[in-house]
């Protein structure tokens, strides 16, 4: 589904990704974790070409990423993304947020786009807020709308960039529940998150990154109970200490 081979990325002289290789099979759920600045967000942002890479290659659903607009369009058509800051469009209602891209990009009629949008809004349990504006919703509700908005494009895979980091604690669960149910339905997912409970519950693999490199990669059971790398142990010690 998603394949990264020997990817290098620099910001000027700073190397953000070092020889990263990663294969994600259809239906797989990957959790990416690691200290801030370790390159996890950069990695998933390369997958839908929000960031460009300098070396290596990325193949998404059979499309080999390049600067060609056609390829980028094809890849973005297959991959949905959810951001830390929700990034809902403030001047559009929840429903309008959800139908914009399906109408412009997938060329759906308004009626079809609205039907799809209402279905996904129901699914993230926010169907009764369709006519509200983002600012009228809580953070958790906004993030669920953002998930529904991405799903309206019927993507084959979803990228989550720290989807619960900007939320008040009491709202984290509703977003995670939505993600868990999405995972149960077989969606291919790559999630940058520090929610280790979520990782244990749904991840097929947990990947630990540090300084732009993939340090360790394992199924959640072994990753948490028996991390092999010192840096992984230190990191897990840090984030699990307070729970």
């Amino acid at each position: 589904m998603i394949e990264m081979r020997n990817v290098d990325k620099w910001y000027g002289s700073f190397q953000a990704l070092k020889d990263v290789s990663l294969t994600v099979l259809p239906g797989e759920k990957i959790v990416l974790c690691g200290p801030s600045g370790s390159g996890k967000s950069t990695l998933i942002r390369c997958i839908n070409h929000l960031e460009t890479i300098q070396k290596g290659e990325i193949v998404v659903a059979g499309h080999r990423l390049s600067d060609s607009q056609k390829v980028v369009d094809a890849v973005r058509r297959e991959v949905g993304m959810v951001f830390q800051q929700f990034n809902l469009f403030p001047h559009k209602t929840v429903l309008e947020n959800c139908i914009l891209a399906p109408m412009r990009v997938r060329k759906l009629s308004r009626a079809d786009a609205e039907a799809t949008a209402r279905r996904y809004l129901e699914r993230v349990r926010i169907g009764n807020q369709a006519e509200k504006y983002p600012a009228q919703l809580s953070g958790g509700q906004q993030q669920r709308v953002a998930i529904a908005r991405a799903l309206c494009m019927e993507p084959k895979a979803m990228l989550f960039d720290e989807p619960t980091s900007a939320l008040d604690p009491e709202m984290v669960k509703e977003v995670l529940d939505t993600m868990v149910s999405l995972a149960r339905d077989g969606m291919t997912m790559i999630c940058v998150t520090h929610e280790m409970g979520f990782a244990r519950q749904v991840a097929d693999r947990v990947i630990f990154m540090s300084d732009g490199e993939i340090i360790e990669e394992n199924d959640p059971e072994r990753f948490f109970s028996n991390p092999t790398h010192a840096r992984t142990r230190a990191f897990l010690g840090e984030i699990l200490a307070h729970r």
Binding site: N48, G80, F89, P90, H91, L100, A101, R104, V105, A135
Partner: protein, 220 residues
């Protein structure tokens, strides 16, 4: 000094037409400025070298030369290049170009104030850069700078008075004519001052009403 406002009241019809002329110049000038402002920012956002250079040069030339010279240039110099425009069209063009250059600067500030995440969300959904600008970034950007844009447009409305210099038909030129016939300078310009004040306040009110309607959505 005895005041005689009958010279003004007797000419109320001419003054009323002057107000119409002024409003016409102002409204069309604002519309043109708006088009230039949004279009200019769209060009800048596309980040192509030559168009960016042209827009930047346009903004700098307009913002660093007097409006009076700009309007004289269009009216008196362009005919040598074979372009001859009547005073009203010239006035609208000059007001629109001048206001447009300032509008570009103001709107660009608004666009820069919109978080990058908005653009990224649009791109991630598969929209192209132009679509992201038009459908996602533009409206919140305009909302953010609408007060500054409004004051710029009030200024544009008052600048219509300078168009009297090429004998465009507007309030100040009507006033000048009445003054020339009656020599009642105080009464005439006192009246004009009052009328401009009312025009300005009404414009401000109208722009605020438009803003309230256009940007009715709640911000956080």
């Amino acid at each position: 000094m005895t005041l005689d406002f009958s010279v003004v009241t007797n000419a109320w019809q001419a003054l009323a037409w002057g107000v119409v002329g002024t409003m016409l110049l102002a409204v069309f000038g604002m519309a043109l400025a708006m088009v230039i402002g949004v279009g200019g920012v769209a060009v800048l956002r596309a980040q192509r070298r030559i168009p960016t250079l042209l827009v930047t040069a346009f903004v700098e030339v307009i913002r660093n030369t007097p409006f009076l010279v700009q309007i004289y240039f269009i009216f008196f110099a362009l005919p040598f290049a074979g372009i001859r425009l009547n005073p009203t069209i010239t006035a609208i063009l000059a007001l629109g170009l001048n206001g447009g250059a300032y509008a570009i600067e103001i709107i660009r500030g608004g666009v820069e104030s919109i978080p990058k995440g908005q653009t990224e969300a649009g791109l991630a959904l598969g929209l192209h850069r132009g679509e992201v600008f038009r459908m996602i970034v533009l409206k919140p950007a305009l909302k953010a700078i609408y007060p500054s844009l409004s004051s710029q447009f009030i200024l544009l409305t008052l600048t219509t008075a300078i168009c009297t210099s090429i004998s465009a038909y507007e309030l100040t030129s009507v006033g000048q004519r009445i003054e020339a016939e009656t020599f009642r300078s105080f009464e005439v310009y006192f009246t004009l001052t009052g009328i401009y004040l009312v025009i300005s306040l009404l414009t401000m009110w109208a722009l605020a009403a438009i803003g309230r309607r256009a940007f009715a959505y709640p911000d956080r």
